[in-house]
């Protein structure tokens, strides 16, 4: 019935830390993960955030042992498990596709892992896990008789019931409606902190990642672009990808024209934008700088030049969308394209209308400088045989295209 290779008996006392060292995964003709280094401390709630197809599922499959890395090592709780089979790893996965066993009842599904490990009171524990996801009343049904959201919760219960040292969650709340998702987020967080398990939560929902995780890693094209506490990531993105994927950003590129001991000034199409050195990844040459939309203020007339504020304008309001708590303005400034501004609706009268002429300003302390070569590949690909004036035109075009995208 049970197997000796399988971790037997009780549950994990606590979460285990996870370490990926130089993991590379190549599929025939396609590199899904490249030189990935990642350390997740024991007992933490770690979110892996990235767009669809960036390699999140592949990373989880490598950790679970369902896929073999082309290169690199995987350590769980300090033990090298790179060569260990999936069923021997102290890891459970909530699959993106649920993968519930169609021939078993919900209860049998949830008790499956417990029974394989020879745990005595598997059924009561399974019922308990089902109560946690509020599905104990369907314990006797088959998976096909449940809705997608219910199946997803069963998949969650089936993994959580094992109390693994490391739980991998592959977009585990994707099929749930908003209310249930919020509820499950709280539930998950409770389970995690109660037992002190290590959670690796994969999602493409930035809000979910930021509200749930202690640490968020933003992944793009098989690499981790930036990693840190949610607030840190939001306030100080290091790359254009993070700046745009995690919330919205207004980006400007230009050359650094002067710098003091604490800040530098970038000339973006004639507008001077000051950025603190401590918040800039690069301090010279052609750089991209940005600011979050809610940090930008709108003015009816040109504000008085004050130190510590960046000012852009005049521009024209081209779009107003009211969302209750706040209003989102799209302001088109010549040379800079569309700039997004969020304004809290604290007073009724200050609403700007479509076509209004406005000025924009923000505190220098809120600006950030990115590590990207300003507008990566297309620029570097074409620059070689262009003269300087054409370079200027080119980067202007790049900028406009980028702003249009954002």
């Amino acid at each position: 019935m049970t197997n000796n290779d399988v971790p037997q008996g009780g549950f994990a006392e606590a979460g285990a830390d996870l370490e990926l060292v130089g993991i590379t995964k190549r599929f025939p003709g396609f590199t899904a993960i490249e030189e990935l280094d990642l350390t997740i401390p024991a007992g933490s709630f770690f979110a892996l955030l990235g767009p669809s197809g960036c390699g999140k599922t592949t990373t989880l499959r490598l950790i679970a042992g369902l896929e073999e890395p082309t290169a690199g090592r995987i350590l769980i709780g300090g033990k090298d498990v790179t060569a260990t089979k999936a069923y021997q790893r102290p890891v459970n996965t909530v699959f993106q596709s649920y993968a519930l066993f169609p021939h078993m009842t919900i209860l049998e599904n949830v008790a499956f892992g417990l029974k394989r490990r020879g745990i005595k009171n598997a059924d009561p524990l399974a019922h308990e896990a089902l109560r946690l996801v509020e599905l104990d009343h369907v314990a006797g049904r088959k998976p096909t008789q449940l809705s997608g959201g219910q199946q997803q919760r069963v998949a969650l219960a089936r993994a959580v019931v094992n109390r693994p040292a490391l739980l991998l969650l592959d977009e585990p709340l994707g099929a749930l409606d908003l209310k249930l998702r919020r509820q499950m987020q709280v539930e998950l967080k409770d389970i995690q902190s109660e037992v002190g398990l290590t959670f690796l939560h994969v999602t493409h929902d930035q809000e979910e990642a930021m509200t749930m995780a202690d640490t968020v890693a933003v992944m793009n094209k098989g690499r981790i672009e930036q990693m840190g506490a949610p607030q840190e990531l939001y306030e100080l993105p290091h790359t254009a990808f993070v700046a745009k994927f995690l919330g919205q950003s207004n980006l400007f590129s230009g050359d650094v024209v002067s710098s003091s001991s604490t800040s530098m000034v970038v000339d973006a199409a004639g507008t001077k934008i000051e950025v603190p050195l401590a918040r800039a990844q690069r301090h010279s040459g052609h750089v991209t700088v940005g600011v979050r939309p809610e940090k930008v203020s709108l003015h009816d007339s040109e504000p008085k030049a004050a130190s510590g504020r960046n000012v852009i304008g005049p521009g024209r309001v081209t779009d107003v969308s009211f969302s209750g708590v706040s209003t989102q303005y799209e302001v088109t400034v010549p040379q800079h394209g569309a700039i997004t501004v969020f304004v809290q609706n604290t007073s009724i009268s200050s609403l700007h209308r479509d076509g209004d002429s406005v000025w924009l300003s923000w505190s220098v302390d809120h600006a950030f400088g990115l590590a990207d070569e300003a507008e990566g590949e297309p620029v570097s690909r074409f620059h070689a045989d262009l003269d300087t004036s054409m370079i200027a035109v080119q980067s202007r075009k790049d900028l406009e295209a980028e702003l249009e995208e954002a």
Partner: protein, 303 residues
């Protein structure tokens, strides 16, 4: 798909059609007519024949009667052959399963990343059907014959005594049955395995199931419908088979099966009531067996 003829796995999820429709009845007419003409009529004729008694006047002729003793007589006379038939068919089904399942698994799961190889392997399983059943069985008779290569080798290493042959033995008949019915076993199992969601096996592995455990708890139950169809498609025709066991092919007087007895009674002895009674008994036996089997396997358990 015809391969899963005996599995009602899809029926559960489908909505029940409640409305009785005249159109549906009308569309069923040709089928009903066909069944009456080609199944019910011969069946009734067979039942009547099976109860006939010898004509008291003309030797070799039979008259309609209610001579149910025909059944008692054939059971007594041919009990041995009946038991042998069931035994041979069971053995052949067992061996066909032993060979067919791994074959189906290999084609349906191992070869799944290589669709071209998969199709090729499938064609190879079906390829024997391109040659007549009789010819293939005759070819095996050649191979197994006293002058044939297999007997030669077995004699030279002393397993087979001088003058002994493999043909005409239980081995050769069960071998022939197994060989001939392997595709019937393989194809339905393949049909279930080819659509098996491999992510379920990954989930099994992830939940501490070793490959063997995952096979037992996930793969096997999910291919049960195919195994059931395969065993029925093998056992039923094998039990009634009269080619492999016949003396002209792989059998001898010691390997006579019920099919051979029916053939002899119909065509050689011209004892039509006995042959008809035997046929009906065989049919009844198989019907009961299938009913019990399907019930035991519980179609509901299959999915």
């Amino acid at each position: 798909m015809a391969f899963t003829a005996f599995s009602s796995s899809t029926a559960a999820a489908e909505p029940v059609v409640r409305r009785k429709s005249r159109v549906a009845l009308f569309l069923l007419l040709p089928g009903i007519f066909y069944l009456i003409l080609f199944f019910v009529t011969p069946l009734i004729s067979l039942i009547i024949t099976s109860l006939q008694a010898p004509d008291p006047l003309i030797f070799g002729q039979f008259v309609n009667a209610f001579n149910w003793q025909n059944y008692a007589i054939v059971i007594e006379t041919y009990g041995e052959q009946a038991v042998r038939s069931a035994g041979y068919a069971a053995l052949a089904t067992f061996f066909a399963l032993l060979i067919g399942f791994p074959l189906a698994y290999f084609i349906g799961i191992t070869l799944r990343p290589y669709p071209l190889l998969q199709s090729l392997a499938l064609v190879l399983v079906i390829a024997p059907f391109f040659i007549s059943f009789l010819l293939r069985t005759l070819a095996w008779k050649q191979i197994f014959s006293t002058e044939g290569p297999v007997s030669g080798i077995l004699s030279s290493i002393g397993i087979l005594g001088p003058g002994e042959s493999i043909t005409g033995t239980t081995f050769s008949v069960v071998f022939g049955l197994t060989y001939n019915f392997i595709p019937f076993m393989t194809l339905p199992i393949y049909a279930t395995l080819v659509s098996l969601d491999l992510r379920l096996l990954e989930a099994g592995n992830d939940l501490y199931g070793s490959p063997a455990t995952t096979f037992r708890t996930v793969t096997l139950p999910l291919s049960a419908a195919g195994v059931m169809s395969g065993t029925l498609l093998t056992f039923i025709p094998a039990a009634g088979d009269y080619i492999n066991a016949s003396r002209e092919f792989l059998g001898s007087a010691d390997t006579t099966m019920i099919g051979n007895v029916i053939e002899t009674n119909f065509l050689v002895l011209q004892n039509f009531p006995a042959a008809a009674a035997l046929s009906l008994l065989l049919m009844g036996f198989i019907l009961v067996l299938v009913a019990v089997y399907v019930k035991r396997s519980g179609t509901e358990e299959l999915l």
